[in-house]
């Protein structure tokens, strides 16, 4: 009985993805058939179009580089900060206030700040560069990193650190050798979440890139043409964008789930 409900719910969530998968292999002639034709003759035409019409490799490389670098740098910048405001030192209220201020930066839709970013980047020469995108994505990811990692650090009992310090470790080595290994789950979860968000980020990439530094999600939208919608190519592009993230997520999903809860509990 419970399984039945579970299966039904999962079916709802999975069906559109299967629809995209099926359409991406389908020819234009059967794409709009009603009742839907599930047994189709697969064709690679859509994938060929999606990868060859515009410079797919360049976009893929851009996406990979930008995501890895921005998430990595955000982690680097954010974790020490999170550690320091995790309530170990000073006023607890001030720590949480600082955390909260950083989080407040996340509260605006990107369209609001698109124009000033565009102008700023133009005057500084960062338009259509990978570095420009990376800088923005670091800003996007920092609040997440600090928020989540702060939660993880608050979980770690002080006794371990105190013991290490009594043994003569400096603050820095306490951080590196004791705290970090314990919070690995949390780091992995945070990294995963940030990668997911950055990889799929669309608004900023659209405004701030030309042909040079464009990322994959923007490319999927390029099939949304004004003279008819090429369902097949669109779905193929969507599958191509999601597959890397999906594969990655499958491999490390255990970390994601465990990590999300541990960090979230302490806010």
């Amino acid at each position: 009985m419970m399984y039945a409900i579970l299966i039904m719910c999962t079916a709802f969530f999975v069906y559109p993805v299967l629809f995209v998968l099926k359409t991406s292999f389908e020819s234009q002639y059967t794409v709009r058939a009603i009742p839907p034709q599930y047994l189709i003759v697969p064709t690679l035409r859509n994938y060929i179009r999606a990868t060859t019409l515009y410079e797919f490799q360049r976009y893929l490389i851009n996406s990979v580089v930008v995501t890895i670098l921005s998430v990595g740098l955000a982690l680097l910048l954010g974790t020490p900060c999170a550690y320091l405001i995790s309530g170990r030192w000073g006023n607890k209220r001030r720590s949480s206030d600082i955390a909260y201020t950083i989080f407040a930066g996340r509260l605006l839709p990107p369209t609001a700040v698109a124009i000033p970013f565009f102008l700023l980047y133009n005057s500084v020469g960062l338009y259509d560069t990978q570095i420009g995108l990376i800088l923005i994505y670091i800003t996007l990811n920092l609040p997440f990193v600090i928020w989540l990692m702060r939660g993880f650090y608050m979980e770690i009992p002080k006794e371990i650190e105190e013991a290490a310090e009594v043994d003569g470790c400096s603050k820095l080595s306490v951080f590196l050798k004791i705290v970090t290994p314990v919070s690995l789950y949390g780091l992995a979860a945070t990294a995963l979440f940030c990668m997911l968000v950055t990889w799929n980020e669309f608004n900023m990439a659209l405004i701030l890139t030309g042909v040079g530094a464009r990322t994959l999600p923007v490319q999927a939208l390029q099939f949304w043409g004004s003279l008819g919608l090429d369902w097949g190519a669109m779905c193929a592009a969507a599958m191509l964008i999601t597959s890397p993230v999906l594969v990655f997520g499958v491999i490390v999903r255990r970390y994601l789930i465990r990590g999300l809860t541990f960090g979230a509990v302490k806010g």
């Binding site: 002639y29 042909v211 923007v218 939208l221 004004s226 003279l227 008819g228």
Partner: protein, 519 residues
């Protein structure tokens, strides 16, 4: 009261006081924009000549009905055209190499002509030593980016695609350059190659963006020419014993749609319903202007809620709701095209690229293939009005160097010369040349499907159809969108037509007041 709460109240009180003071200061001190000096000439009405009907000539060579055949035909002609273009360019008197070494960035919207543009970009590099980077984006983001770039004069793109209805915005802000200095310069232009007078008259007239443009100056170079036409399924019409020559007015149109309506096999009508100044307004204006309505009168008073306009809205809403397919209230161009292609409609009013796109077996089911013909838009008591629209290249003022500007002009000349335009048409059957002479090129003749739409188009051009229908003002995006929302709400039944028009009138008046039209 506790210390903390007192502090809290203090901050809140200070904030509130600051707000009140700031608000008052801003309101009193901040003035409205000074009134804009506007002298607008009334557009000259065409004299209506007697309409003439004609029968189409039968096709000499059978048009391909398979995708492979079509592709082969297009490819063959495209290559011939590109080769011709290259030869003509080399033979022209222009020194193409004068801006060698520059790199240009173009931004164009995704469409079927992207591949020819990219091909021409490569050819141009070979010809002139100038690298062209094409940035291709969907229509809406492309328009945003191009506008941002042009108006902020950041000079990222040397040539941007613009929508002709947005041109007044740019010209009024003095953000685009006129083309005349380049066209008249013998070192930069070969008039035989470029043929600057060879444009359809409405296009070239609106390129001047009257009254904002300097007289005699043109601010864009078109690449296509869309206008609305009526489409009908010849086989269904024959089954019912109808001809489109009988559709003389809107009542007749609605009657025809009701007769043809045969759900769920096919519906009697389809047109655009989605809100937007380029969407439902594009097709609705035929009704609006045909009934005698308009957005503004000569003194810029808002007359969108005049009885004629309300009548026009009611007629459109009626034919869409009663004889259109379900969901037509939200149809954009691709949805109407899909409906036509899947054979779900017998009659439709939409952009003229339907006529060619539906001869492509990839877009049209077998029963539709070869059966979709075109006719002139229906006329009302104020004549036939077909909206027109084009995409065009414009030259932003913000381009960084003179050399780049010259190079951009050379590229525009190359790509939008008659042969260049012809090459753009030879892709996926979207044949909408903005230049009359392109039709005469033999390769273009070979790829034109044998329906009678070219004849219809010519008739429309020469006789009784008006093509200057949407107000060319910088505030048009907002005015148009407001009307689009009003029409959309009338279509979904949220408001009655009268209420929708009144609502739109109030909004538009507000916009025009803020923009300074009423002194």
């Amino acid at each position: 009261m506790s210390e903390r709460r007192r502090n809290y109240l203090k901050t809140v009180g200070a904030l509130a006081a600051g707000l009140v003071v700031g608000g008052a200061a801003g309101y009193l001190g901040g003035t409205m924009r000074p009134p804009v000096e506007k002298t607008v000439e009334k557009t000259v009405e065409k004299t209506v000549e007697k309409t003439v009907t004609a029968t189409p000539a039968p096709p000499t060579v059978p048009f391909p009905t398979t995708a492979e055949g079509l592709d082969a035909l297009l490819k063959e002609n495209r290559e011939k055209l590109l080769a011709k273009l290259m030869d003509a360019a080399k033979a022209s008197s222009v020194d193409w190499r004068q801006c060698e070494g520059e790199t240009l960035h173009f931004i164009i919207r995704t469409a079927t002509d992207n591949e020819p543009y990219m091909k021409m970009g490569e050819m141009f590099k070979e010809l002139a030593g100038v690298t062209v980077e094409m940035d291709i984006m969907p229509e809406v983001p492309q328009r945003e980016k191009a506008t941002l770039d042009i108006l902020e004069k950041t000079g990222i793109y040397e040539l941007s695609f613009v929508d002709n209805m947005h041109l007044p915005l740019y010209v009024a802000a003095e953000a685009v350059e006129p083309y005349e200095p380049y066209i008249e310069d013998p070192k930069l232009t070969d008039k035989d190659f470029f043929k600057p007078e060879d444009w359809y008259e409405p296009l070239w007239r609106s390129a001047n963006a009257p009254p904002y443009g300097e007289p005699g100056m043109h601010y864009y170079i078109p690449n296509c020419y869309h206008h609305t036409l009526l489409y009908y399924r010849k086989d269904i019409f024959q089954k019912y014993g109808l001809t489109t020559y009988d559709i003389d007015d809107f009542e007749h149109l609605i009657n025809t749609a009701s007769v043809l309506n045969n759900p769920p096999n096919w519906y009697g009508w389809v047109s655009r319903g989605m809100r937007g100044e380029g969407m439902n307004i594009f097709t609705w204006q035929t009704f609006l202007r045909g009934y005698g309505g308009n957005w503004f009168d000569e003194d810029w008073n808002v007359i969108i809620n005049s009885p004629e306009a309300v009548e026009a809205m009611e007629a459109y809403v009626k034919v869409m709701r009663e004889y259109g397919p379900p969901g037509v209230e939200g149809y954009d161009f691709s949805a109407t095209l899909t409906t036509g292609g899947e054979g779900k409609t017998a009659l439709g009013l939409d952009c003229d690229c339907w006529s060619t796109l539906l001869w492509d077996p990839r877009n049209a089911k077998p029963e539709v293939l070869g059966n979709m013909y075109a006719a002139r838009v229906p006329q009302g008591r104020a004549g036939r009005h077909a909206g027109f629209f084009c995409w065009a290249f414009c030259l932003p003022v913000g381009i960084k160097t003179e050399q780049k500007k010259k190079a951009a002009w050379l590229a525009a000349q190359f790509m939008h010369s008659p042969l260049g335009i012809a090459a753009l048409q030879a892709m996926n059957l979207v044949i909408l040349p903005p230049r009359p002479s392109v039709w005469e090129i033999p390769e273009v003749k070979a790829i034109t499907p044998p329906n009678d739409w070219k004849i219809v188009k010519d008739l429309s051009q020469k006789y009784d159809a008006f093509y200057d229908d949407r107000p060319m003002i910088p505030e048009w995006p907002e005015v148009g969108d407001i009307t689009g929302v009003a029409l959309s709400s009338a279509l979904t039944g949220e408001r009655t037509s009268k209420d929708a028009c009144d609502w739109a009138a109030v909004q538009i008046k507000d916009v025009m007041t803020k923009a300074g039209y009423y002194g």
